[in-house]
């Protein structure tokens, strides 16, 4: 038989002024199962809590209902009090008779009547409450950072600094990401390499950090504190442990017509290569698509082999195979970054027809001292000095058709101002035009920076759209545009056109999100757990977001978010175990159909399926596919409980029968 204690709080006069608390306590004392019903000035006070504790002990209460302020206020207080008296804390229910009764009503009679009904509902519910125990699950003290750009590097460094092992998985041959390709950074115009490469070195030298370059995450299983990831180390045909990065192999390689990916194909490199001078790890990699020996198919054939001959360390290994590493992690940070979009759909800009129409990232390389032209800005087509350069903004950004992206790529306005300024600084004879829709400069010193470009460097900013870019036979490029302010059609004979290309999440992000059971928006940016309050966490517990994989960001923002993600991960890794929310869903396997509806609506990937054997009444067995909920991952939203047609899914603390009992009590 239930023994329920009801405790009605006056909250001074907050409740008592509008609700006849004595009448409420009296009325509720007659409810089925209620053995004690009291009122008190302040239930949340120590004396009030003691009243509850004593009642639990003396009456052997099986449930407690406190009619008081909002459960958002003191539910925890009363749960703790119950626990202190030996009652499971989840056998406490709150009837909110302050915020949702006394404070909003004026008439004592009706407010009291309503308070009684709310009390009844809480009593009806508590009768069906079951003791719940928060489970615990251990935390593996190691983090996985996916992506080795500035975001990944910063996150890894911060986590390592806190004393935890970190693995960086980078799909390219070196870490560094996009920042390594950038020439200067806005708004300070300091050299990107100068600030990035020390960080790369730091990462490589940190004992806690393991860098898996030229590697991919091929599988992730598990849940917060307890992930298992499989990392595929792609074969680079060079033994990383032996290679000294001397570069001798790259010099002897006879196949020198490989488009240099690091320079975005603006020049060539060898089939065996080190991406750039400060690459980390500084290890050579052989591109099997171009290597004369590997392209043959049979490495035992006597073809080329010059690099192996040149390598004094004996690091070249044509027989190398992909290697798979399985590792346990407590936390995963996604830092997969971005890429400029492909411009195949933007024929109007003649990008594919004309070598002198370049993207902004290509311009970075063209202007970089380590770039193809050693830092001198020359037209890619004829290596001449350009005198007139047109920048086109929002190429593929803020598009309302399917060609581009609906969002603002955020960084273009600023880097274009930077490019314009740098060009005008270095080549005062070069005229620079910028066609823009708006110039967006929210950020510290950003607007000043842009104004400097316009005012000091006389960059021609024209509000308008570029309609068509046409390469002309004389090597010039006709840029046809409209000036929206003067409403004029313009034709500019440009030497170069630079397209501020929209950025998009890396292509590896979506398969990764599937593996991680994290959510993505329609643009493939990872979705944060809460747009405002949990901006660096994914909705899936234990998976954090760093950098542009979550949305377009500039470097300082990326670094800030990287550190934030790191601190969140550290917060998780310092725990030996995590307490799970006991108000989670659970599946009744006898009723489960295995239809997967619950799995489809679970935002956390907390539901998995297994084939289980069930006994039939005839002493035979049948195999059935049934769902099971991982309580460490489930957050208790209840979406699955409604998606489940058979009602096999139910939610602890808010079970079907509990909610229906409340409905019944209210409608009684």
């Amino acid at each position: 038989m239930q023994k329920i204690g009801v405790f009605v709080c006056h909250c001074g006069t907050n409740i008592a002024a509008t609700v006849d608390v004595k009448a409420v306590a009296e009325a509720l004392s007659h409810e089925s199962g209620v053995v004690i019903s009291q009122d008190y000035q302040y239930m949340c006070s120590e004396a009030g809590q003691n009243l509850i504790k004593d009642a639990i002990r003396e009456n052997g209460l099986t449930g407690v209902v406190v009619c008081s302020c909002s459960p958002r206020m003191h539910e925890n207080t009363f749960r703790k009090a119950a626990a202190a008296a030996g009652l499971n804390p989840y056998l406490v229910e709150i009837a909110n008779i302050r915020e949702q009764c006394s404070w909003i009503h004026k008439d004592i009679a009706t407010a009291t009547e309503k308070a009684i009904i709310l009390g009844r509902a809480a009593i009806a519910k508590v009768q069906l409450n079951t003791p719940l125990t928060a489970g615990e699950s251990p935390v593996a003290k190691r983090a996985l950072v996916i992506g080795g750009g500035i975001a990944g590097i910063q996150t890894a460094l911060d986590i390592a600094e806190a004393g935890f092992e970190v693995d960086i998985v980078e799909k390219e041959a070196t870490i560094g990401g996009k920042m390594a390709q950038i020439d200067k950074t806005f708004p300070t115009l300091d050299c990107a390499a100068c600030i990035l490469t020390p960080k790369m070195v730091e990462a490589s030298q940190n004992e806690k950090i393991t860098i898996h370059s030229y590697s991919e995450v091929s599988a992730v299983k598990g849940f917060i504190g307890n992930f298992t990831a499989t990392i595929k180390k792609k074969r680079r045909f060079v033994d990383e442990t032996k290679c000294t990065g001397c570069g001798a192999c790259t010099e002897v390689c006879p196949m020198q017509k490989v488009p240099n990916a690091f320079n975005l194909g603006l020049n060539n490199r060898g089939a065996v290569y080190i991406p750039f001078a400060q690459a980390v790890p500084k290890v050579a990699t052989i591109d099997p698509n171009y290597c004369l020996k590997l392209r043959k198919g049979d490495v035992n054939e006597k073809v080329c082999g010059k690099c192996a001959e040149a390598c004094t360390a004996g690091a070249i290994n044509y027989h190398q195979q992909d290697e798979y590493i399985e590792q346990k992690y407590g936390a995963i940070v996604v830092a997969t970054g971005y890429n400029p979009i492909k411009l195949d759909k933007f024929d109007e800009f003649a990008y594919n027809q004309c070598a002198d129409v370049v993207t902004s990232l290509e311009l970075e390389r063209l202007m970089n001292a380590a770039g193809p032209n050693g830092g001198t800005l020359l037209r890619p087509s004829d290596k001449t000095h350009p005198h007139k350069i047109v920048f086109v903004q929002c190429v593929g950004s803020r598009c309302d058709d399917s060609k581009g992206k609906p969002y603002c790529s955020k960084i273009c306005c600023m880097y274009t101002a930077k490019h314009a300024m740098l060009i005008r600084e270095k080549y005062p004879d070069t005229e620079v035009y910028v066609f823009y829709i708006d110039v967006r400069t929210p950020g510290k010193n950003f607007d000043e920076f842009y104004r400097r470009a316009v005012e000091q460097y006389n960059v021609h900013y024209i509000k308008g759209m570029v309609g068509k870019v046409t390469p002309k036979s004389d090597g010039k490029i006709d840029v046809q545009a409209s000036d929206l302010l003067s409403n004029e059609q313009l034709h500019i004979d440009a030497d170069m056109v630079v397209l501020a290309t929209a950025i998009e999440p890396d292509k590896t992000a979506r398969p990764l999100a599937t593996m991680l059971t994290t959510q993505m928006d329609t643009n493939d940016f990872f979705t944060e757990a809460h747009a405002k309050l949990r901006p660096v966490e994914s909705a899936t517990a234990g998976i954090f977001l760093s950098g542009a994989c979550q949305g377009p960001k500039d470097i300082p923002e990326t670094v800030a978010q990287a550190s934030a993600a790191a601190s969140k991960a550290i917060g998780l890794l310092v725990k030996d175990s995590i307490t799970c929310n006991p108000c989670v869903a659970h599946s009744n396997e006898l009723m489960c159909n295995g239809c997967s509806a619950c799995e489809k609506v679970c935002p956390y990937g907390a539901i998995t399926y297994q084939d289980k054997e069930f006994r039939t009444p005839y002493r035979t067995t049948v195999m059935r596919r049934v769902a099971s909920v991982n309580p460490a991952v489930c957050q208790g939203c209840g979406a699955c409980t409604v998606a489940c047609p058979s009602g096999a899914m139910d939610l602890n603390g808010f079970s079907n029968s509990q909610i229906m009992a409340e409905v019944d009590a209210i409608c009684k």
């Binding site: 329609t522 006898l590 009723m591 489960c592 159909n593 295995g594 239809c595 997967s596 509806a597 489809k600 609506v601 399926y609 049948v622 195999m623 059935r624 596919r625 998606a643 047609p645 058979s646 009602g647 096999a648 079907n656 029968s657 229906m660």
Partner: protein, 323 residues
């Protein structure tokens, strides 16, 4: 057609592809055909039938049958293949253990419609083009085939088999139908008229559960209406509320999963147009969330297990025309 099917069934049994066949067995009269499982060529020769009255959708039996030892041969009409696909998607059948032969259907007849014409004592039915001759102990009667056509076939949504291992006959296309006409007509009534319409219909319900038990989407291990803990368990409607509730919940549970096979209305002993409830959901889903045909594939997310950021708000219901 029947000959082709029978001979193929016997072949597949003989060559060991399958060890049994699910199809239809002839009855006492021309029309009382029972789904049945055949294990030998003799049984097939004796009783297998495929004719104007083999309207039963046998896909639901495969939930149980596909888990048994050995592969089963299922002859599926176009609409039945949608049901099977949906079951496959929901992991309710072991598709690998089923050999599906798609068979064409040019529309099945509904004996209830013949009887509704006042024709009784039926001993045989002959279809000659558009004319149906019903032989009775009181003499022959004729009527148009269209008048005897089962409702589900009158608004056939597709002549295309969406899953099969082989086909007998030609495959058709997904067709445009008038299947939402009646839903639309009801939508255009006033709320009171709709209420009266449904009260009249649903008050006929005897809660025999035929609609649920025949429904290929209703394959729950334990139906909520049988589960005392579900809060909706009941065996008979003791109040008009319970009549409404049963049908709302039944339709809601198959919303986005119902392939519109029409079995519920076909088997209803009280001739309640239950399919209209399902079609209302289908129509809503199509118009609000984009065209969706349950069972057309085995991978798409059901509309109720899916969303887009810019779905309409529930208030759209309030904004519709007539109250």
């Amino acid at each position: 057609m029947q000959e082709a099917i029978i001979s193929r069934a016997k072949q597949l049994l003989a060559d060991g592809t399958v060890n049994r066949v699910i199809g239809w067995k002839r009855g006492e009269f021309a029309y009382d055909i029972t789904p049945a499982i055949f294990e030998s060529p003799e049984e097939i020769d004796a009783d297998f039938v495929y004719d104007d009255f083999t309207s039963a959708n046998v896909s639901k039996y495969l939930v149980k049958e596909s888990r048994k030892e050995g592969k089963i041969l299922a002859f599926l009409k176009t609409c039945d293949t949608y049901s099977l696909n949906q079951l496959t998607k929901e992991h309710r059948v072991d598709r690998d253990n089923i050999y599906v032969v798609g068979i064409p259907s040019d529309g099945k007849l509904d004996v209830e419609k013949i009887k509704a014409k006042g024709i009784t004592g039926i001993t045989g039915v002959e279809r000659n083009g558009d004319i149906l001759t019903v032989k009775t102990i009181y003499g022959d009667e004729t009527m148009s085939v269209a008048d005897a056509m089962s409702n589900k076939c009158l608004s056939c949504k597709s002549k295309k088999h969406v899953t099969y291992d082989e086909l007998i006959g030609e495959d058709g296309e997904v067709t445009d139908t008038n299947r939402f006409d009646m839903v639309e007509k009801l939508e255009n009534m006033t709320s009171q008229e709709r209420y009266d319409f449904w009260r009249n219909e649903l008050s006929k319900c005897i809660r025999c559960n035929a609609c649920r038990n025949v429904c290929p989407a209703c394959t729950c291990e334990n139906c909520v209406f049988n589960n005392p803990d579900s809060g909706v368990e009941n065996k008979a409607a003791a109040d008009s509320f319970e009549e409404n509730m049963f049908h709302i919940i039944r339709a809601f549970h198959v919303a986005g999963r119902c392939t519109d096979c029409g079995e519920c209305s076909r088997v209803c002993p009280q001739n309640i147009p239950l399919h209209l409830l399902n079609r209302k959901f289908i129509k809503d889903i199509n118009s609000l969330y984009g065209e969706y045909q349950a069972g057309a594939d085995t991978t798409s997310k059901a509309p109720l297990n899916n969303y887009t950021f810019d779905d309409c708000e529930a208030s759209i219901v309030h904004e519709r025309g007539v109250e």
